[in-house]
Amino acid sequence: MVVLDPRELIIYDRLRSVNRKIAILSPKGGVGKTLISLALALSLSLKNRRVGFLDLDLTNPTAHIALGVNVKDLKPKEEKGLIPPEIKGIKFMSIAYYNLDEPLPLRGHEIVNVIKELLAITIWGDLDYLIIDTPPGLSDEVLSVLKYFKEVETLLVTTPSPLALRSVERLIKMLIDAKIKILGIVENMVLEGSRSNLIASRYGLRVLSYIPYISNLDHWLGDAEKFVKSPLMEYVNTLRSYIDRG
């Protein structure tokens, strides 16, 4: 018996009213994807762009912690689907509303199921930007982003570490082969001189931002009002103006 999954058909309709979909990617963990994603989303929102944020780090969502979103009390609104609540002007969607910070171990096919479910039932409405934060690795979450988000643009994050640089180079090769648009590279936690420009020039890409190591960044986390005043924002604002120029 063939049983059909109707969700895939509706996903493209749900995302049709989103103008630009930007996925923040890095195969290496701990390079700052989540905070850069959030800062970019907030920076765009502060420029009156209509912004959505999707935390696709399903087994370890943390974006809500950085913004101080109370996932126990705040929930998406049910109205012919799920309408994400707005946090500082951003329509913020995360699985954390449903797993309530309990452990959530998922196998690959379950991750794909959650992504299909989230994309099928989330009603974003008209957006200028949907910023998608992803977990490290080149596995189900990243592959699903490339599959379901038509015309997705990617922003790659690395640190000067040789391990992160080698990882991002593998990602670049994969994206180029799949003809996925790469907006550029963000080199984060820079202490002395850039190391990513060599890789960028090798593949005809640009390093869009060099963000220094900000030692007290944790101090700015836990409250969206506080986070927008963090030193990270000034670097990401420059990144935002480049991206927002189109």
Binding site: E79, L82, Y98, N99, V114
Partner: protein, 135 residues
């Protein structure tokens, strides 16, 4: 009314297959509903008929089949039937939207692992579409 979003997906499929076969109507539509997701059948039925009307689709017979929840531990192999009524209302609502969050609330009763498989009872699926008056 998250059922409306699911109904939209189902009707989109039914519309595509009806067009493909140039069918005049749907004689029978059989949907399999995983009990884990606590779908409200009345709301789903209402949403399906409303959306079908908007698309000019006639559905003669709509059948819902429940699929009970069965879980199997990947760690120790234990298999058990699961009664979602043992969960609190909040948790049932979470599973209603994202069934996979069951891993946050349930452990294998034999070994305590959260690495178990939902063998049956998850999600909404189209089991059968019978078209009539088409090619």
């Amino acid at each position: 009314m998250h059922e409306w979003a699911l109904a939209e997906a189902i009707i989109k499929y039914v519309e595509a297959i009806s067009k493909e076969h140039k069918a005049k109507k749907v004689a029978k539509l059989v949907l399999r509903l995983g009990v884990l997701q606590s779908i409200d059948k009345d709301i789903l039925k209402f949403s399906l008929y409303e959306l079908a009307k908007l698309k000019g689709i006639v559905i003669d017979e709509l059948v819902f089949e429940d699929e009970e929840v069965s879980l199997r531990c990947r760690s120790c192999g234990y298999r058990w039937p699961f009664n979602i009524n043992t969960l609190s209302e909040d948790v049932r609502e979470a599973l209603h939207f994202i069934p996979e969050v069951i891993h946050s609330y349930i452990k294998c009763p034999r070994c305590g692992s959260r690495d178990f498989e939902v063998v049956s009872g998850r999600g909404v699926a189209i089991k059968e579409v019978v078209l009539s008056g088409g090619s």
